[in-house]
Assembly symmetry: C2
Homo-oligomer: 408 residues x 2
Amino acid sequence: MTQINENYLKLKAGYLFPEIGRRVKAYSEANPNQRIIRLGIGDVTLPLAPTIVNAMVDAAKEMGTSSGFHGYGPEQGYSSLLQKIIEHDYTKRGVTLSEDEVFVSDGSKCDCGNIQEIFSLDSKIAVVDPVYPVYVDTNVMAGRTGEVKESGHYANIVYMPATEANSFEPDFPKEKADIIYLCYPNNPTGMVASKARLTEWVNFAKKTGSIILYDSAYEAFIQDPAIPKSIYEIPGAKEVAMEFRSFSKTAGFTGTRCAYLVIPKELKGKTSKGEEVSFNSLWSRRHTTKFNGVSYITQKGAEAVFSPQGQIEIKEQIAYYMENARLIREGLSASGYSVFGGQNAPYIWLKTPRNLKSWEFFDELLNKAQIVGTPGSGFGPAGEGYFRLSAFGKREDVISAIERIQKM
Amino acid sequence: MTQINENYLKLKAGYLFPEIGRRVKAYSEANPNQRIIRLGIGDVTLPLAPTIVNAMVDAAKEMGTSSGFHGYGPEQGYSSLLQKIIEHDYTKRGVTLSEDEVFVSDGSKCDCGNIQEIFSLDSKIAVVDPVYPVYVDTNVMAGRTGEVKESGHYANIVYMPATEANSFEPDFPKEKADIIYLCYPNNPTGMVASKARLTEWVNFAKKTGSIILYDSAYEAFIQDPAIPKSIYEIPGAKEVAMEFRSFSKTAGFTGTRCAYLVIPKELKGKTSKGEEVSFNSLWSRRHTTKFNGVSYITQKGAEAVFSPQGQIEIKEQIAYYMENARLIREGLSASGYSVFGGQNAPYIWLKTPRNLKSWEFFDELLNKAQIVGTPGSGFGPAGEGYFRLSAFGKREDVISAIERIQKM
């Protein structure tokens, strides 16, 4: 019998979202007349913007014609999309990139999960706690960690706690870490990194020889013009960081699937003998060997995001979600909750009342107000006692949810 | 500086298709007035069938409405698509599968490349030589092989040569192999496996405790009703085999991206302590952690493939390509070439004339007839002296190509 990858057995059972689903299902079955409001999982609810839909309808029709059919495209993405990404998301912010430094993919979850393959199995990772679970789980699967400890932490991962005590701004890793995962605006805490703090991170990575994997999937929600949207706005960042971006939350592509990963050519790793190797060329080899490009129709939809009308439409959607965030934030504050995030991010992070455990508050909210949120402890031990609400719901649901919470 | 995955440095430089591109570009630049006919890479050329286009147009429009918008879908695929896959591709052929045994993905290249992650790094793979390079390269990257040898083979891979001497029907691996990659109809040789031979493979895997990764991406091209389309038509195969399927060649989805992987629950691996673990549950964990489902629009297109009208339309396309295959096969035979495959597969495998090396024949064909094919040696050392032509071209190109070859 063939032997399995035993690292999978180290993974904690009971992944967050299936457990939420189980509890919600049990409650619904016991209380079939109660209307449940879901502010848990970070999925968008507004339909795709008209300009994007039209572009995809046209692309689908084009695929049905001899002259307009597209078979295998370039694995890295069509040049027309790459150019728009660079021009809109980077050139306008003073960052120079060439087309072969951007890799279009079918999702940031995939990119964040796959990127670890090009690093040595001996490299040590550092993550913020609480954290988006994919960073951790994919390294557990690859074998870069030990077993899970009683604390809920895995052995051989450097955790950087982000709690109220440090204003959710994690300190630099105390031990040497080769790969540092950062996510700003943050999932789950909704915090952002100032230009000064990001500069410190870049300098820290330079000094320690670490690489930063910078997940900025939520950059579109930044309202404060002083906050960097890209880590490359910091001088020298190209030598220490990759950047992950997505159309999922920016343009409602969670069910349409398009993202991209930036790997500047300046970003180098080394062999065990000390020879320098470009991460761009390693990822290019990975991307062309294990991936076959994003659907042509999807790429045309993504291109439409950058058209003048597309920009107007997606900015309206983001404004809608940020108004939800404001309502949740202010509604909860008025009810006496300690609330964080939600100002430059679509997530609101709150302290549970009466020192309830995250899952206790989950149950209370579900039973008393029929609201589904996400227990902070699901994102890591330092998330215990916190709770995440998402601003991606429908307005009427957000308003009802706040009313219900205020009555609790 | 962060250390890289040094296994990538073992990969042979000069991947096949970029090298073809380089030589074709050089020729075109030197001979700008010559019209080049491409029968090399296995990409389809007919536009998407009308029923598929209509379904995707409708799905794109639906995504623009509040009631029809789809965000994150189930990672494994929508139930409506899973049901159609099972009913059409399996139930009708006497194979019983449940929905959670089928995983919809964005491509067989991805699935074939990613699947190795759930096996132990110590497991040994066996591949046919010549072979689809993705099977080998992804295992090199993961570290399951040694360096490449002078023969062109990697150390620690078991190669099973398929040449004219054994009628392109490889013998069982001589050494113990944990994971056996089989592809029928075969890329690149165009050969198929009879029911009797496939039964021998299943029995062999049972006896040796190996697992078979069965790539049947080209099953739609099988014309002979006696040839199995699925390995699960062989009794007991569920205990030893996974099966890879794709819409790429079946329905022209190379630029639309949809495939699926079947992992029956009976298929078990073991831990180092000998405990049994279901590969289905391991892959489910991998698929949900590193992948976020296929575009809703694409899945609706894939569903339309199984409609009665969709079936009529894609069968016409396959008939068109198989008529191309017949023309190539018979045209080459009439010109004195030894030709294989092309009867139940879209690939024609030919012996180079005058014992030319594969790349010598490539250059000759390009220079004398302006035809681009694929050198057999690009698929492995046993492909040396052979050459692959694909039946996916346009009819007029196929006819011109045959005329040019006959004049050579």
